[in-house]
């Protein structure tokens, strides 16, 4: 696949909680979210499953899933499957080559069952009543809110009006006991509370519901919500002030934690200029180098190519790396030609098989992608 061009950053009109978080991490990534050609980079399979999970919970909150617990579970599964099928159909070709059907996406059944169980538990608890006006509703689900100045937008999963509570569903489960709402989640809840307040809905607390049904709640004083909104506005103003005449690379702030699972890695020159082997633990295995030899094989009717790469940049440092067993289809799925000797290649999210000389990397991760750096050299 040929590395796509990075987006040309421009001014952003409004900011959502997700964009706010991204701006705090890396303005270049924020510009990718707003202006990038997302059709040129494969989505993370978990992102697809997360969307399906939220689709189910939205249907529950809107009363589109109802009945007995068993009926709710079954309806939730159907909803999940339908959404997954449509997202898979429109997904990047690389994802479809790796996972020929949605049920083959890693963790598909686990996410689906978590959604089904949570849906059965939440069915009939609080449901949105679209017929009601903005006052007197029991709950509001997945509704768009905009601040009075139009700069802040958001779409909370659920507002339980009677309990004055924002509810946000997370697909993952807590890895340890006694978990709390993270700073990142708190910022998101604060912004939602602010937006709800702007719409005349009182919110006093925010709750995170994990995929296993566990919950954690924080209190949200009005002042905290307003301060968060001010910070978000300031981040937006700062971005817009900095963006004129600057490129994607000028805005990038590569760092081990913020680059972890970042979709921009294939196109982000500053990442490749900055990353070093100390990033590997938190950020993964990414390498860029020139192909000095290659070897073709066909195994189980699958054409494979192995590359010997003189690596010059990335999280492996300078070394000769053997990138083994790459399905050829992964390199040509966008219509690009197969790799050749002399090409500069980037392997993103590789699987390190042997860390000692000779270093061996395989392209067998669900997020592995293999890119040929085009003439632009991004």
């Amino acid at each position: 696949m040929l590395t796509p061009n990075p987006p040309t950053p421009s001014r952003i009109d409004r900011i959502s909680p997700t964009l706010y978080e991204t701006l705090l991490e890396c303005p270049a990534k924020a510009s990718w979210i707003v202006f990038g050609r997302h059709d040129l980079v494969a989505a993370h399979p978990l992102a697809i499953l997360g969307t399906c999970f939220h689709e189910v919970m939205e249907a529950v909150q809107k009363g589109q899933i109802s009945g007995s617990a068993d009926e709710c579970r079954e309806a939730a599964r159907d909803r999940f499957d339908q959404r997954a099928t449509s997202l898979h159909a429109s997904a990047h070709a690389l994802l479809k080559v790796k996972f020929p059907s949605p049920v083959k996406l890693p963790f598909y059944n686990l996410f689906r069952e978590r959604a089904a169980i949570l849906a059965a538990e939440r069915c009939g608890r609080v449901q949105d009543d679209p017929a009601s006006g903005s006052h007197g509703e029991a709950a509001i689900a997945e509704r768009h809110f905009t601040s009075s100045d139009g700069l802040l937008v958001g779409r909370p999963d659920l507002i339980d009006v009677q309990r004055a509570e924002i509810v946000d569903y997370k697909t993952g489960v807590a890895v340890e006991d006694g978990w709390r709402v993270s700073e990142r989640e708190a910022r998101q809840l604060n912004l939602y509370a602010y937006l709800a307040g702007q719409a005349g809905i009182v919110v006093l607390r925010g709750t995170i519901v994990r995929g296993d049904g566990e919950t954690a709640t924080i209190e949200i004083p009005e002042l905290t919500a307003e301060e968060e909104a001010e910070h978000a506005r300031a981040a937006l103003v700062e971005f817009n002030a900095a963006v004129d005449g600057r490129s994607f690379s000028d805005l990038a702030r590569p760092a081990p934690d913020s680059c972890r699972m970042c979709p921009c890695i294939p196109i982000c020159k500053p990442f490749w200029q900055t990353a070093d082997p100390s990033w590997q633990d938190s950020c993964g295995v990414h390498l860029e180098g020139i192909v000095v030899a290659l070897d073709h094989a066909t195994v189980q009717a699958t054409p494979l190519v192995s590359l010997q790469v003189d690596v010059s940049r990335g999280t492996l440092g300078s070394a000769t790396v053997f990138a083994e067993q790459i399905p050829v289809a992964w390199t040509t799925v966008d219509g690009d030609r197969e790799p050749e000797v002399g090409d500069i290649m980037r392997i993103v999210d590789g699987h390190l098989i042997s860390p000692e000389d000779p270093i061996i990397v395989r392209a067998d991760r669900s997020m592995t992608s293999v890119w040929r750096v085009g003439p632009g050299g991004h």
């Binding site: 049920v103 890693p106 059944n109 069952e113 296993d212 098989i353 000779p358």
Partner: protein
Amino acid sequence: MVDYRPFGDRVVTAPDPLADAVTVGVCRRCQALVPGPAAYGGCPYCSATRSDTGYRIVELSEPPGFTTWFSINAEYAGGFEFTPRALRARIGSSPNPPTAARNFTVGAGPQRVYRVNDNDGSDFVFQKITGQDVWIVEDAFKQALQDLSLAERRAVADPPFDAAERPLRRALAAIANTDVLTAGIADVPVGLSLNPAIPDARAGWYSFGFLMRRAAAVWMDVAESELDLGIQPVMDFSSPFAPPSARVFLSDALENGAGYCTHLGERSRFEELLEFIVGCGTPPNESFWRPLVEAPHEEECASSCHRCLREFGNMAYHPLLDWRTGLDMARLAIDPSAQIDLRYPYWQTLLSRITGPYFAGLGLTAGRLGGLDAGINPANRLAVVLVHPLWDKARANFRADVAEAVAEGEHRDLRVELRSVLGAVRFPYE
């Protein structure tokens, strides 16, 4: 080790009996054998790193002959290893692509079969005896002395090793060219794992293989010992994680082949063999299937016995063999949508017999998580869920019913542990 040759009316020893070593890679995790291995890297199939218990490069020598230390006056006391240290029979990658039908792949043709004894991953270090073309392993020599009385032992001098010859590290092998049939599963459904590096799946492959061998012996009216058996890992690129899958191979015991495997490896004939195993086909022949799945065998055999899969020659495999898993593999080879779960009649009856005592023995309260049997300890929040041996225990590839059980356990704040029925039957308190 020695290489005796006739020379006129005498027998002489030829020099270098360990010459002409063959270099291969062997993986103890997934059973791979890699002829001409790369000088670097782990197992090309399962990625096991280089170690004595994972993937390693081995110099193989085929012993041209053996000699005893006949100057020592000692009776052979005999010895029998129930699980010999020799590795199982292996083959390298197949030269010809197999053909596919239903949900199986099958191929046949001449191939090299390797039987390797690598001293449990340690190899043998041979040293030359001074003035003779005899190479011995000092550890083996010392071990043999243990058969002697202390007085006799004291009378035996240490072997005079030739200091000018460097010791040679070798694994011993018997390499034969013969006819080989390979059979695999074409499409592995979501939620199943046939990765031979996983013990339960490996048990499935061997059970399938020995079931196939027994059926073939009945079908062709030959002795089971006419056919040898092993498994061969293969890449499975239907998943981006590329775990290896496998094929089972049958080989003719006779060098250069007796023709059985090429006969069975013809696609339609192999299909008939599978149908014979599972009692379908036109007309259905249930003579092999029924005695397995019906009482008294079904009631009395929880994994394998001499009425189904065990025989003297496959003693080393007995702990792995399970007729239910073997039949499931055969059914899957015929039909990709075959019911591979614990509701299938022969699993259901087994579970109805073992679940209660098993959970009671572990101090767990029997219950259900999702639709699966589970034993729960409310005190430490542990839930043991019984799963099919071929079900994948990796969260990324759960079947829907396993995912339901795990998600329900998470929701009830339980620590869910998946345990295969095969393990529960054979090693209940492991």
